[in-house]
Structures are given as structure tokens and as C-alpha cells.
């Protein structure tokens, strides 16, 4: 039962990355794809109806983690204290950037919130990527099973790690590039005119960067944490996940011009596939440790079986409802967003 929850949680987190990921991507490209304030308004309108619902996946993931894996929640959240606080503050600025901008007509006011939105989106992608890097690399768990990481130490992957070292930064940059591409593909699908031209141009550039960075990061991951390959050598069927991811990335490139919607789903598959690959590689541990033997296993981290099965009974229908609400909004929002006719 604990393993079922591990995979459900991995899926929820991956869906969060896919959904809020394109919000982050749009944010990162805010100043390069949109050249005027009117165009920036269009970019914001293209995510306006859905970004908050996308963020709820993070809250749902947090709640699910708390209920199903209390020990993991406790250890990871307290150990990642500083980056989490920074993430909270960045999420605050991101939300303000999106929601406050339209409350005034002043260009200065718009500029302020454009910068807040764009900058926080970029940093959030970087931090979430670095967080994933930390989980893959392993954490400095002590004898009691706790840890506390400073933001950085000496940027080496040693015994005394920080949140940021060369490896986690590499993962962060890869995630940033991947989500920027994802956002570009959203705009490629949802906008028109010059916006779509520029979004496509950026998608072209980013695609190559993402491919290169993903290959480099994959190699670096295996060097930093050789344990990563243990599952895929034991049970090679898991290799389907990274293959799925790369198929998605290829699809994104091939459909870029002809089928923008399919290209977006391609990059969604890429993000989803990468995160699930990481989960597959980590299994059966919830937290990998720098010192072998101190890992927190999924079973140790989980609530007791009766709670987990009871939780499943309300969680599955609840999430089905949640998906239905999301689909309703995605289907009711405008198909494309144009800049013409915007007053400024």
C-alpha cells in the first residue's frame, strides 16, 4: 500500500510540474516573447484562468505527502527549511505578479509586477529543479534520520552538502530550460500573431539546449549517485519511462509548427517522464542518503496500512472530482489569446 502511495504522490508531483511548469515557462519568457506591455498582458491572460488551479496541485501534493508519509514530510520539510521558505516567498511574488498587475493602468505598476512574475518564475523553476537534484543526489541524513542543509557549502558533492552544489545547480538549470521550453510551447499553442512567431523561435532554441542539458544531467546523475541504475538493471522495463520522456521531447520538436497542441503535449510527456524516471530510480527509498544505510525507505516513511487504505477511499474520488473541475476550466477558457483590441 505504501508503494501505491509512493507512485500516486510521484504522479501528483509530476502533474504539478507539467501544469505549473508551463506557468513558470511563460513567466521566464515574459520579457523575451512579449515585447510590449499589451503583449505581456496577453501572456498573463493565457494562464490567468488556470494558474491558480495548477498551483493547487502543489498544495494537494503537500497534503497527500503529509497524510500518507508523515515521517518523510517532517524530515524533508524541516531539512529543506531555508529553500522552502524562499520558495514560499517566491510563490507569493509570482501570485501577486499575476493577480495585481491589472488593478492599475499605470505602466510603472505593470512593469513592477511583470518583473516580479518573471523573476519569481525563473527562480522557482531553478529551486524546484535543485530540490529534485537534492533528492537524487542524496541527503546528509544523520543517525536520527534528520538533516538540515544550508543553502550552499562549497558547491561540491561531498559529505557536507548544501542545497546548491554544482550538481543540483545543473539539475536546476536543466529544469529551468525544460520548463521554459514547455512554456514556449504553451504560447505556441495559445497565442497568435507575432507572439506565436517569437514563442516558436524560443522553442527552437530551447529545444536544443534542453536536449543537451538532459543528456549531461543524466550522465552527471549516474556519476553522483551510482545507485540510480540499480532498479533499471534489475527491472529493465522501467527504462520505458525515460524513453517516454525522450519520445515526448522528439514529438515536441516534430509537431512544433504543424500541430502546436501536440507539441505541447509532447513536452508535457517529457516533464512527466523525467520526474517519473527519477521516482523509479529512487524506489524503494523516499529519501536517499549521502551515507549508505541511513536512507529513509518508503515503508518507514508511510503512515500505517489501515490509514493508507482509508485515505485511498476518499482520495481517489476526490482527485477525480478535481480533475473534472480542471478539465471544465481548460475547456471553457478561450482557445487562443490575441493582443489586438487590448486597451493600453
Amino acid at each position: 500500500m505504501a508503494n501505491v502511495w509512493f507512485w500516486l504522490l510521484a504522479v501528483v508531483l509530476a502533474v504539478y510540474a507539467v501544469l505549473d511548469g508551463f506557468d513558470f515557462g511563460v513567466g521566464m519568457l515574459h520579457f523575451v516573447v512579449a515585447k510590449s506591455q499589451a503583449e505581456r498582458g496577453t501572456l498573463l491572460r493565457s494562464i490567468g484562468p488556470v494558474w491558480d488551479g495548477n498551483e493547487v496541485w502543489l498544495i494537494a501534493a503537500g497534503g497527500t505527502l503529509f497524510g500518507a508519509f508523515p515521517a518523510l514530510y517532517a524530515t524533508a520539510f524541516s531539512g529543506f527549511y531555508l529553500p522552502l521558505m524562499i520558495v514560499l516567498w517566491l510563490l507569493l511574488f509570482r501570485a501577486l505578479g499575476i493577480e495585481l498587475r491589472h488593478h492599475s493602468d499605470s505602466p510603472l505598476w505593470h512593469e513592477l509586477w511583470d518583473v516580479a512574475f518573471s523573476g519569481s518564475s525563473l527562480l522557482l523553476a531553478l529551486f524546484f529543479g535543485a530540490a529534485l537534484g537534492n533528492l537524487v543526489r542524496g541527503l546528509p541524513l544523520d543517525e536520527k534520520g534528520d538533516f538540515f542543509e544550508p543553502l550552499w557549502t562549497n558547491f561540491r558533492v561531498g559529505d557536507r552538502t548544501g542545497i546548491l552544489d554544482w550538481y543540483t545547480l545543473l539539475v536546476g538549470v536543466t529544469a529551468t530550460a525544460a520548463l521554459a521550453l514547455h512554456g514556449a510551447l504553451w504560447l505556441n499553442w495559445k497565442t497568435t500573431g507575432e507572439l506565436v512567431e517569437r514563442a516558436r523561435l524560443w522553442a527552437h532554441r530551447l529545444w536544443l539546449a534542453v536536449l543537451a542539458l538532459t543528456v549531461i544531467t543524466t550522465i552527471a546523475s549516474v556519476i553522483v549517485q551510482p545507485q540510480l541504475l540499480r532498479n533499471v538493471t534489475r527491472l529493465p522495463i522501467g527504462a520505458i519511462l525515460p524513453l517516454f520522456a525522450f519520445a515526448g521531447l522528439a514529438l515536441a520538436r516534430l509537431s512544433l509548427r504543424a500541430a502546436p497542441r501536440r507539441a505541447f503535449f509532447g513536452s508535457a510527456a517529457f516533464v512527466l517522464g523525467l520526474i517519473l524516471s527519477a521516482a523509479y530510480a529512487m524506489f524503494p527509498y523516499a529519501l536517499a542518503a549521502r551515507v549508505p544505510g541511513r536512507e529513509l525507505s518508503i515503508a518507514q516513511a508511510a503512515a500505517q496500512p489501515a490509514t493508507l487504505s482509508g485515505m485511498l477511499a476518499w482520495w481517489l474520488p476526490g482527485m477525480a472530482l478535481a480533475i473534472a473541475y480542471s478539465l471544465l476550466i481548460y475547456s471553457r477558457m478561450p482557445k487562443t489569446f490575441t493582443t489586438e483590441g487590448e486597451e493600453h
Partner: protein
């Protein structure tokens, strides 16, 4: 301050600030349902104009609630990791339910309510508004259940390592404490909604702007405010006080400032608790009233604080006592103010009576204070426990997070929330200046 003190202060600060917004959102969501129902039944488009105006304000309050709410869920893990490890199997359930059942619903229908009124048509837009109200009130329910478990834990067992395991989902959700606390909390939120709407209505009437719409919102708000204010005292406040008396007798004695066991106990209205000498200084009391309100008999015995061992006493008796008395005092004031306003509305004199309009306009901060004081009463009364009789507060904080890190984040939150307050007032001011205008593009 010690690391524990900082963890406590940060949680108290962030949740107190956070709850300023949800109480407004939940209250306004109910006001919206009322206004839209009135628009329909009275066939009066002014109510729709008022509803549209308040929808925009609710949107802003909602965003504030979201950005200050996410830190709350995170802080269980970041600052209270030992508590999370021990109780997460139980309270993680209700917190996850809030996300799954309430937040997805709210975030989706808010878009429909705000931007799709024309596309949906009146009937379906009303349903969307009702769904938004349901979402916000569900959210309140799951959070209250979480708190109720900490106040009066039900449906769990504790294993040899001290970890709590849930034995009954229904005991968690149908906890008698939760029912009472939820009713009292939601009535409190409704008061906030009603006072806020009444204040703005009074403001426009005093300025003689948007008069027809302002009358509609003020009229609806004072009736709702009167009903909610009465319900805050009876039956919900009464039931809450009795629940505290039954399940947390030490807290009851402390919040009433009742130090010594006696028959026919007096109720203290005003006075300063002197914890050292265990008495109330300069009291104004009503003889035997505490016994009567608690047991419906004038002569029954009420246990005083000295009856209980010191290590079970709440750790800040003075603040607990004051918080409770401020809440109860303001609650009585609300009944008087909204009762008088409703009476004058019935007599057709409310809209001309400028002193009362002034009072209604200036009264809007009071429900925020009363709700805050009420939660202070509940949470200080729970001390020294995190989960009553199960886990002490001192045993719940994150040991691996230093006081320096906590001070850093606390100061960060203080600065950011100061900025949020400024932005909120700036935008509310803009919305108020624009006012409830009839034709509004989505």
C-alpha cells in the same frame, strides 16, 4: 527568544495574519449568495450590481488568502517536524482533504464567478457562486477538524514510539468539538462579511454615492449581521463555552479568570487577572452568572484554576483571559449594533440616520479583532499541549532548525506581510473609489 518560542511566534503570526483573509472570503461568499438570491427573488438588478462589486473584492481577498495560506501547510513540516511525524497520519488526512475537496473547487469556480457571468447566464452563475461559497466553507470545515483533533483528539491510538495512528475517519470528521467549533467559526466569518459589506454601504450613503445599490447592500448586510451576531452568542458561543468547560476545564477557568472553586460562581465582565495572587483585580462581576450559564442552575459548583496541577495550566493565562473577554465583549456589541440597525431598517429610518451610518462604517475592523481574539482564546487555551493530553507543544517543534533560521524566516514573513497589507489597502481603495458601477466588462 528560544527556538521553540520563535517557532511558536512564527506560526502564531503567520496564521493570525492569514486568517484575516479567509474569514473575509468565507463571509463575503455567503453575502454574495444572499445578494444574488435577492436579485433573483426581488427581480432587482441593483443586487446584481452589488454582487458584482463584492465579487471583485472577494477575488482580491482570495488571492491574499492563497498566498498567505500556502505557508501554513508548509510550516507543519518546516517548523513542527516532530509534531508532523507523530500526528501526520491523522491531521495530514484533513489537511489533504482540504486541498483535494476544497481548493480545486474554489480555484476553478472563482474563474467562472469572476469572468464568465455573461457566458453562464444567471442561473448557472448563481450555481457557480454557491459552489464557490461551498468551497470556501468546506475549506473551513477541514481546517476546523484539524484544529479540533488538537483540542480534543478522537479516533486514534498511540503506539509504543508515540506515533498516532488513525482508527476512525468518522471520529476525526464528526468530532463533537469540530461540530461546535466549526459552527462558531463560520458564524464569526459571516459577521466579518456582514460588517464589511455594511461598512462600505454606509460609506457610500454617507458620501451620497451609488445610493440605490448602497442601500441594498447595507440592508442585506445588517439583517445578516444581526442574525449572525445573535448566533455567535447563542447557540454557537454558548455551546463552545460549554464544550471548553467539559473537555478543557483548566482552560475554561483560566479564560473566565476563575481561580478558586466555588458554588454559585460569579461571571467576571471586566477586571485584570492577577495570576501571582490568583485573583481578579478591580472586578466588575455578575454574581452566580457563570454557574447559571454553564449549568443552567444558579448554585452549581465551578472548578477554579487552583483545582488543577500547575503543569496543566495554560502558559499565558493573562492573554487567554483578555482574548476571551475582548471576543465576548465585542460579540455583545455586535448584537446591539446590528440589532439596532435591523430595527431601524424595518422602521425605514436606517438610511437617514447618519450617526448610526458612521458607527457601522467605523465598526468594520471589530469583527476581525473578535475573530482573532476568539482564535487566540482557542489556541492559548489548548496550551501547554499541541495535541491535548497527548503531545506537549515543547515536544513538537523541529529540533534540526536553529533559532537563527527561524528568526530569519519570521522577519521575512513580517516584512512581506507588511508589504501585502499596503498592497491590499491600495487595491481595495481603488475598488472602493470605482464603486459598484452598473456596466462592467468582464
Amino acid at each position: 527568544m528560544t527556538a521553540l518560542g520563535l517557532h511558536r511566534f512564527q506560526f502564531a503570526f503567520t496564521i493570525t495574519y492569514h486568517y484575516l483573509f479567509p474569514q473575509l472570503t468565507m463571509g463575503l461568499a455567503l453575502v454574495l449568495v444572499v445578494l444574488k438570491a435577492l436579485a433573483h427573488y426581488r427581480r432587482d438588478p441593483d443586487y446584481d450590481v452589488a454582487a458584482r462589486f463584492w465579487t471583485r473584492l472577494l477575488g482580491v481577498a482570495f488571492v491574499m488568502g492563497v498566498v498567505t495560506g500556502i505557508p501554513m501547510e508548509f510550516q507543519f513540516g518546516t517548523n513542527w517536524s516532530r509534531f508532523s511525524r507523530i500526528a501526520g497520519g491523522v491531521i495530514g488526512q484533513t489537511l489533504a482533504m482540504e486541498g483535494v475537496f476544497a481548493f480545486f473547487l474554489e480555484s476553478s469556480v472563482l474563474y467562472l464567478v469572476l469572468f464568465q457571468e455573461e457566458r453562464l447566464g444567471p442561473r448557472r452563475h448563481f450555481l457557480a457562486t454557491a459552489a464557490l461559497c461551498t468551497g470556501t466553507w468546506l475549506s473551513g470545515f477541514f481546517i476546523t477538524c484539524t484544529n479540533a483533533f488538537m483540542q480534543h483528539p478522537q479516533g486514534f491510538v498511540q503506539d509504543a514510539e508515540g506515533v498516532l495512528h488513525l482508527t476512525s475517519f468518522s471520529a476525526l470528521l464528526l468530532n463533537p468539538w469540530a461540530r461546535i467549533e466549526y459552527a462558531h467559526t463560520m458564524v464569526g466569518a459571516s459577521i466579518t462579511g456582514a460588517f464589511t459589506v455594511a461598512a462600505v454601504g454606509a460609506f457610500y450613503l454617507l458620501q451620497e454615492r451609488h445610493v440605490p445599490v448602497a442601500r441594498k447592500m447595507l440592508g442585506a448586510a445588517v439583517v445578516m449581521g444581526a442574525v449572525a451576531s445573535l448566533a455567535a452568542a447563542f447557540p454557537t458561543g454558548d455551546a463552545q463555552a460549554k464544550a471548553v468547560h467539559e473537555y478543557q476545564p483548566e482552560s475554561f477557568a483560566a479564560m473566565e479568570g476563575h481561580f478558586h472553586t466555588e458554588r454559585g460562581a460569579a461571571m467576571t465582565l471586566v477586571g485584570q487577572p492577577n495570576v501571582e495572587e490568583q485573583r481578579i483585580d478591580n472586578p466588575i462581576q455578575i454574581p452566580r452568572l457563570l454557574s447559571f450559564l454553564t449549568h443552567q442552575r444558579w448554585n452549581t459548583e465551578i472548578k477554579g484554576l487552583t483545582e488543577f496541577p500547575r503543569e496543566r495550566w495554560p502558559d499565558n493565562i493573562a492573554l487567554l483571559y483578555y482574548a476571551y473577554h475582548i471576543m465576548a465583549g465585542l460579540g455583545s456589541l455586535f448584537i446591539g449594533l446590528m440589532g439596532a440597525a435591523s430595527m431601524l431598517l424595518y422602521l425605514g429610518k436606517l438610511f437617514q440616520l447618519r450617526p448610526l451610518l458612521w458607527a457601522l462604517m467605523l465598526a468594520f475592523p471589530l469583527p476581525f479583532i473578535a475573530n482573532t481574539a476568539g482564535w487566540l482564546t482557542a489556541e492559548l487555551g489548548r496550551q501547554p499541549w499541541l495535541v491535548r493530553d497527548v503531545l506537549r507543544t515543547s515536544a513538537g517543534s523541529s529540533e534540526n532548525v536553529s533559532s537563527g533560521s527561524t528568526l530569519f524566516s519570521l522577519l521575512g514573513f513580517m516584512g512581506l506581510y507588511a508589504m501585502l497589507s499596503l498592497l491590499f489597502f491600495l487595491i481595495v481603495n481603488k475598488l472602493l473609489q470605482r464603486g459598484p458601477v452598473a456596466k462592467e466588462g468582464a
